[in-house]
């Protein structure tokens, strides 16, 4: 398993639009991708779980990826979140 810590940059947190984009972009990876926040494990391929996770601007989260393409999945997830998910 690989993991990395990132900080949410979106002003309104991971709400509908960025959550949808994140889930969509990560769906193509085989690895399990989870976001660890406030002790919760959030499935990063599920927009519903991301929204329920209530990750706000400035929240520090850990991305965990496990599977055959785990490094590629992690790199993509970090890149997406750090770029502000199109916002």
């Amino acid at each position: 398993m690989v993991s990395k810590s990132v900080v949410i940059k979106n002003e309104q947190g991971l709400h509908m639009r960025p959550a949808g984009l994140l889930a969509k972009e990560l769906k193509s990876f085989d690895s399990d991708i989870n976001l660890i926040f406030n002790g919760k494990k959030i499935n990063a391929k599920s927009v519903m779980n991301i929204i329920a996770g209530c990750m706000k601007c400035g929240s520090e989260i850990v991305i965990e990826c496990e599977g055959d393409d785990e490094q590629a999945a992690l790199d993509k997830a970090v890149e997406l979140i750090e770029s502000g998910l199109g916002e």
Partner: protein, 567 residues
């Protein structure tokens, strides 16, 4: 009369169409073929997706991209493999598709509501909408079609869901009334985008209203009258026509320069409380920001905002406004506002106490952080500093010395900033008014804060209903103060503006023009109306009225003359 929140301005009279959001009834039967049932669910999702994308397209045309995105979000949510798997799993365990959808959606609604986070809870409304529509598709229930309501309809609903409003024909809807939701609800945002009057959060209204009932509503005050008599209906129709005419009349001032009838240029700015509000000022054609209140950074926080956080907020505003001026008022807080982490003591007279610049100069650590953030942001636009609650010259000199000290530090650090940044003051105390001539030699500009100036000049707490009658900018004492302040600024050739509510008061406009006020800073929604008011007066006409006004002994006489001369 029923009361709610006025969330979309305007008046409407029409006949009610009640939109129910009741879930379609279904029977909980165990399907014989689970795989076929899962198929049935999947085709319902396909129908849902197709219909929703069509709705999003028509929404984009009627109410813009933002509202369309809400509907597109519904497709994203229902396409979530996680929610689909949960529903299919329940179906495989022997549930019918209806029950599986109902229960899984209910789980998410509860999960979202439990967060108590406003934005996340709004998504719970979306799931409710998705659930109702999926169940309608599965059970073959018809929706009451909001697109087909007749002209002059007042829509009454628990809450308008995005899908309900998708095909709304605004020409046919005279008003919107809901039982839940405030000014930031989807219903209210949409009502404003479509310019339909709306009253929200009217408790129990659905049980009082029947289809076809006549209703009058006031979306500014938030009031609803059921079955108005002819005189009331007539009054509301008249108000509606006047409102629409005024709105259309103001549009012609968009993009115009702010000049008096005889061509004297004025500056027309907007007041804001957070960076995002700058967009509203631009939308309403404001020429800059005359008052950026910075308290939001300190109030919505559990600890002191860092220099970085403040810098980002100021920079964002400066960038939004591009080359237009942004006047940032430094921290204006004191014992009447509860900010626990500042550890301020409760005071007997908070308005006369340890507040605003008095607090800031005593807590140089806090003030320096804010001034550094503002100075750094000044490299990204046209930023000015404004000091609140000044009562003596020393305060201005102290702030300027501190600003110079920070500039020297930034020079050493190699951080860029606007070397010519202006340091102005709020003139809002009787002391500042008395020594306006001295202050005008120190400050780069004046901005008159009429709310506090009136309160302090009249020695009146406007929250106290027994004495609130004294709180009036039309009182001769306040008018004389305004005249002196503006005169002193002009003597020293510094810019003089006003950022209190009085700047947008059209009764006062001729007096302010006559005194020589140069900058008017008003709420975003008042920009066009204020420009229209300024354009109606020439200096000579304003002088003639003002001369009479200044001879009056009472505020009643002042108001009488100004009303008689209103344009």
């Amino acid at each position: 009369m029923y009361y709610g929140i006025g969330g979309s301005a305007g008046y409407g009279v029409g006949r009610a169409v009640v939109i129910s959001d009741e879930l379609p009834v279904y029977e909980k039967i165990k399907p014989s073929d689970a795989a076929a049932e899962a198929e049935r669910f999947q085709s319902a999702v396909d129908v849902f997706t197709e219909k929703t994308m069509q709705m999003a397209d028509s929404m984009r045309l009627s109410a813009g991209q933002k509202n369309a995105e809400i509907l597109e979000g519904h497709v994203v949510m229902i396409s979530d493999p996680f929610i689909q798997d949960e529903i299919k799993e329940k179906i495989m365990q022997g549930m019918c598709a209806e029950q599986a959808v109902d229960e899984v959606c209910a789980q998410f609604i509860e999960m979202f509501n439990m967060t108590e986070d406003e934005l996340t809870m709004q998504r719970a409304t979306d799931i409710r909408d998705i659930r109702t529509r999926l169940l309608r598709i599965l059970t073959g229930t018809q929706e009451k079609d909001i697109r087909e309501v007749p002209a002059g309809t007042v829509i009454v609903a628990k809450d308008l869901t995005p899908s309900m409003t998708a095909g709304i024909v605004k020409e046919n809807v005279a008003g919107i009334i809901t039982e839940t939701g405030g000014v930031t609800s989807h219903s209210a945002i949409l009502a404003r985008a479509l310019e339909i009057p709306g009253v929200f959060s009217v408790e129990g209204i659905i049980s009082k209203v029947k289809d076809g009932m006549e209703i009058a509503l006031d979306g500014s005050e938030g009031t609803v009258i059921l079955e108005p008599d002819e005189a009331q209906a007539q009054e509301y129709r008249k108000k509606r026509d006047e409102f629409l005419e005024a709105r259309a009349g103001l549009e012609k001032y968009r993009g115009k320069e702010t000049r008096t009838a005889d061509g004297i240029s004025k500056v027309l700015y907007g007041n804001i409380g957070k960076p995002d509000d700058a967009a509203k000022v631009i939308e309403n054609d404001g020429e800059g920001i005359g008052l950026f209140r910075t308290e939001f950074l300190f109030m919505n926080s559990k600890e002191l905002p860092t220099e970085e956080e403040q810098f980002e907020a100021y920079k964002k505003t400066a960038e939004l406004m591009k080359d237009r001026e942004v006047i940032i008022r430094t921290l204006d807080i004191g014992g009447d506002k509860d900010i626990p982490y500042l550890g301020l003591e409760k005071e007997d007279n908070p308005f006369l106490g340890y507040r605003a610049i008095r607090f800031c100069l005593n807590r140089e650590d806090i003030y320096k952080t804010q001034l550094r953030a503002i100075l750094r942001a000044s490299a990204f636009g046209k930023v000015s500093i404004m000091v609140p609650l000044v009562t003596c010259v020393k305060e201005v000199r102290d702030v300027k010395a501190l600003v110079e000290k920070i500039k020297a530090e930034l020079d050493i650090e190699g951080v860029s900033y606007d070397k010519n940044i202006k340091v102005g003051i709020m003139v809002e105390t009787p002391a500042a008014s008395e020594i306006a001539d001295l202050l005008a030699k120190e400050a780069d500009f004046f901005s008159i804060g009429t709310n506090d100036l009136t309160q302090y000049t009249m020695a009146v707490d406007r929250g106290n209903s027994k004495v609130a009658y004294l709180y009036s900018v039309f009182n001769p004492a306040v008018l004389r103060s305004l005249k002196r302040i503006i005169g002193a600024a002009k003597q020293e050739n510094i810019m003089v503006g006003m950022c209190g509510e009085a700047a947008a008061d059209q009764l006062l406009t001729p007096v302010l023009i006559s005194f020589g006020l140069e900058e008017f800073s008003v709420s975003a929604g008042s920009v066009l109306a204020t420009r229209a008011a300024i354009c109606k007066w020439s200096k000579a006409d304003a002088d003639a009225v003002t001369q009479k006004v200044m001879e009056c002994a009472t505020q009643e006489e002042v108001i009488e003359i100004l009303k008689a001369n209103k344009r």
